[in-house]
Symmetry: C2
């Protein structure tokens, strides 16, 4: 039964033996990623990676977590702070202090709640304002593949493909629309504009809806790394970080800064025993997982090169479209839509061929 | 710093000391749940619970998982099979055999992939058809609180509250709309109908959009329990079950049967070490977590009574609305929308007062 189960739950990239008489099965999202040309893969600069070494596990196995930093123009003040903290080796000998099921795992200074025990922060950390949780749209940020861009940066909304399908496209309950900047998902606020345009067939004027992107912000998907803060929006320095380990808590978007995304070693954080104190904080120091070191990737010898599938490539557009419309060996009912967190940007080690499957 | 972090990341139900001079802080979703009257809580019949005892952990601690079964009219053939398997004690001495990060943990017969080693299934298991992944709408199923029902079962869509907000309401990228049946979230396919109705102010005819629900189906949120199957839609008996441990894999909706939801002990499954084989299957029997027993709740002595917050109560409507529009001590930017999996139906042990916080 396991063989059928291997095919079940998502028809992952396990090619079936080819049979000359049968046509090949329809492509899955992972098939599309595996077939992407080399030019569609973009290397991530080591300076944009952060490597966190947790204490070895009970069997003596190393536990390395690799985080890709949030690219400009998002959250750059907090990203700068995290770089400053890593350069000062401030995170070394801190710990994972919280694990709340279906929410977050969090790390930082266990003594940080008491001024007498708190570890001194390095100088020159920036204090960020609430306005920096989002950024103003610029047409150079990305190519949006699910609409028709015009030279004036307006996007013509692509209508529903067919009224009898359930097609919802790339809609988002938390934003006007979503897209990707570099390898990061973003939410967008759009301004609708109705305009008379010439109909492509008759040449007569017809009403069309365009949208003008106004603001963008990074979104809370599984594996995203954010900056813990207090009640005041400007209180998060970057010295307390968390990672999402469950349902994307999208209500935190625009309320808290995201500084990166775990691209390897996520399982070392997501499987930590849940804390039994309020909000999943551990109740005794014995439960903490010590953090041995945190370094920027450029300071780590022998680090592999990581690559992401360019979100502006045709491969990515086909992959996203396929994730919204699964119909293959396993899937019988295409969803006709997808949410931004269910289009994870594929990551691989350079030279490794197809990346690790993205889970389904 | 921990005190501020306790308030951070969601302003959970930790009441601040009241200060006579200050007005109370705005209610959070958890405040609303905590204030719900007793009549809004509905007991779950023990016969609708399934109790799975995993082997004790390394420290000798019991690991009990409590699952609420999917109510009629959804997935009832598979639910019957799971009841039959539990009654036959078939799951006893099976094991957790798979743990794939950000996807599922799965259990069943480790020898099930080989006819020579497979455990014999009890007789009279039902074979279910693809059509049973969804059900036809009936107006007795639920009260929809986010539109105006008419006597002919048509729902008038409530328009956006204000054009300058980002309000997306209770939209869903995977379905026309979502709602709840009992304590379970459902997706719906609706049929749009435009009609001329008298304007409430002028009395003149105006165009209004109504919807007629056509079909409903259970959805894949965190903690939902489903039936593993092979490539053919009718191959899942219920002897292999999985639970969602990451981003809701909503593309599986209507492609695979959901039979329940973990309501207690989820952390014993979600923190299991991830398997290193394809799809997160464990590669050696030593990695399995043995399942000691699986019994229906009516066969478990001393089981607590569990209750859920009625999804047809005013408390639940207020809670859902608040989850879509967080603005309180911590939240500065209400999302203006929410997805179905971010409105988890609150569960508590009877007599315990406020339930465990739902995570954010």
């Amino acid at each position: 039964m396991k063989n059928s189960l291997l095919a079940a739950l998502g028809a992952l990239a396990l090619p079936l033996p080819s049979m000359a008489a049968d046509p090949p099965p329809p492509a899955t999202p992972n098939d599309i990623v595996a077939a992407a040309p080399a030019a569609d893969w973009k290397a991530i600069a080591p300076a944009d990676l952060m490597v966190m070494e947790l204490a070895r596990d009970a069997k003596g196995k190393a536990q390395r977590v690799v985080i890709q930093m949030m690219p400009a123009p998002f959250s750059q003040g907090w990203v700068d702070n995290v770089r400053t903290l890593a350069a000062a080796r401030w995170f070394d000998r801190t710990a994972v202090i919280r694990s709340q099921d279906n929410y977050v795992v969090q790390w930082g200074d266990p003594g940080g709640d008491n001024p007498k025990t708190a570890k001194a922060l390095p100088p020159r950390l920036r204090v960020m304002a609430e306005s920096e949780y989002l950024t103003t749209y610029s047409p150079t940020l990305f190519a949006h593949r699910w609409g028709k861009w015009r030279s004036d940066s307006k996007l013509e909304i692509v209508p529903a493909t067919a009224p009898d399908t359930n097609w919802k496209g790339f809609s988002d309950p938390y934003a006007s629309a979503f897209s990707f900047v570099g390898s990061f998902p973003v939410g967008m606020r759009l301004k609708n504009e109705d305009e008379l345009v010439p109909d492509r067939y008759t040449g007569r004027p017809r009403m069309a809806t365009f949208v003008v992107p106004k603001e963008l912000w990074p979104v809370h998907c599984y594996g995203m790394v954010g900056v813990g803060r207090g009640l005041s929006p400007d209180t998060g320095s970057g010295a307390e970080l968390y990672v999402v380990i469950g349902t994307p808590p999208r209500q935190l978007d625009r309320n808290i800064a995201l500084v990166g995304r775990v691209i390897e070693g996520m399982e070392f954080l997501s499987t930590l025993p849940r804390g039994t104190g309020p909000l999943g904080f551990y109740e005794t120091p014995e439960e903490y997982t010590p953090i041995v070191s945190v370094r920027m990737g450029s300071d780590v010898a022998g680090l592999p090169t990581y690559e992401y599938l360019s979100t502006e490539s045709a491969s990515f557009a086909a992959y996203a479209e396929k994730r919204a419309n699964r119909k293959d060996d396993f899937y019988i009912q295409p969803a006709g839509g997808v949410d931004v967190c269910n289009v994870p940007v594929p990551i691989r080690r350079a030279g490794s061929g197809a990346p690790a499957p993205v889970g389904k």
